[in-house]
Symmetry: C2
C-alpha cells in the first residue's frame, strides 16, 4: 500500500525561506505560484517575475538572520525574524503566507523601510 | 467538582486587540504584564508605562481595521491586519506576542513607518 503525504503549508514556506535566505533564489521560486500576489511596504507585487526581482534585489544584502517565531494554521503560515544587513540586525520582518497545492499564492510582507535604509537616507 | 479554565494565549491577545482598537486602552492594559518588552520600529519599549504611552499615541489615529489573519501556537500568537488611518488602509501591521499567565510579556511589533507618515513627511 502506498501512501502519499503532501507537504504541509509550513514545510513549503520553510523550504522557501531556507532557500532564499541562503541565496538560492531559483530554488525559492519553485515554491512560488506563477500568479503570486505580494503586498510589500509601499508596493504590490503581481506575478512571479515581479516577486522574483524584488527578492533578488534584497537577498544579496542579507548577512544573517535571527529567528523570532513560525506559526502555521491550515493554509496559512506566519514567519517573524530579524534579517541582518550592514545597517541593522534588530529590525523585525514579518510574512503572512497563503499556500495552495504546495505553492505560495499570497504574501503579506511587513518591515520598516526606514530601519533598513542606509543611515544617510533616513 | 469545579474546573478552572485558563484563557488561551489567543483569547488573551484577541481581548487585548479588541480593547485597544476600540479605544479602550485601560482595558487593553489589563492584559499586559508590568515588565512587558516590546520591540517596535526604531525603538524598544520597556515596561507597561512606556508601552501604554506608545499605544495611546497611536490609538486615536485608528479609524478602522481590515483583518489578515491570526495564528497561535502555545504561548505565542501572531496578528496581521491593515490598520486604517487618515493616510493609509493598505499598509499591514504584524505583531508577535508571547503570553505568560494570561498576560502579554513580549511583543515584536512590525509596520512600515513611512506608510503611516503624513504625505509631507515622507
Amino acid at each position: 500500500m502506498t501512501q502519499t503525504t503532501d507537504a504541509t503549508a509550513l514545510d513549503t514556506v520553510l523550504a522557501y525561506h531556507q532557500a532564499w535566505t541562503s541565496g538560492d533564489i531559483d530554488r525559492a521560486m519553485t515554491m512560488v505560484a506563477d500568479d503570486i500576489v505580494c503586498r510589500a511596504p509601499g508596493e504590490e507585487l503581481n506575478g512571479k517575475e515581479a516577486y522574483r526581482d524584488y527578492l533578488a534585489a534584497f537577498a544579496p544584502m542579507l548577512t544573517g538572520l535571527t529567528d523570532v517565531g513560525n506559526l502555521a494554521d491550515g493554509d496559512h503560515v506566519a514567519l517573524f525574524y530579524y534579517p541582518h544587513t550592514a545597517v541593522t540586525s534588530t529590525a523585525a520582518a514579518a510574512e503572512h503566507f497563503t499556500v495552495r497545492d504546495d505553492l505560495i499564492t499570497e504574501s503579506v510582507l511587513v518591515f520598516d523601510r526606514l530601519s533598513f535604509a542606509p543611515p544617510n537616507q533616513r
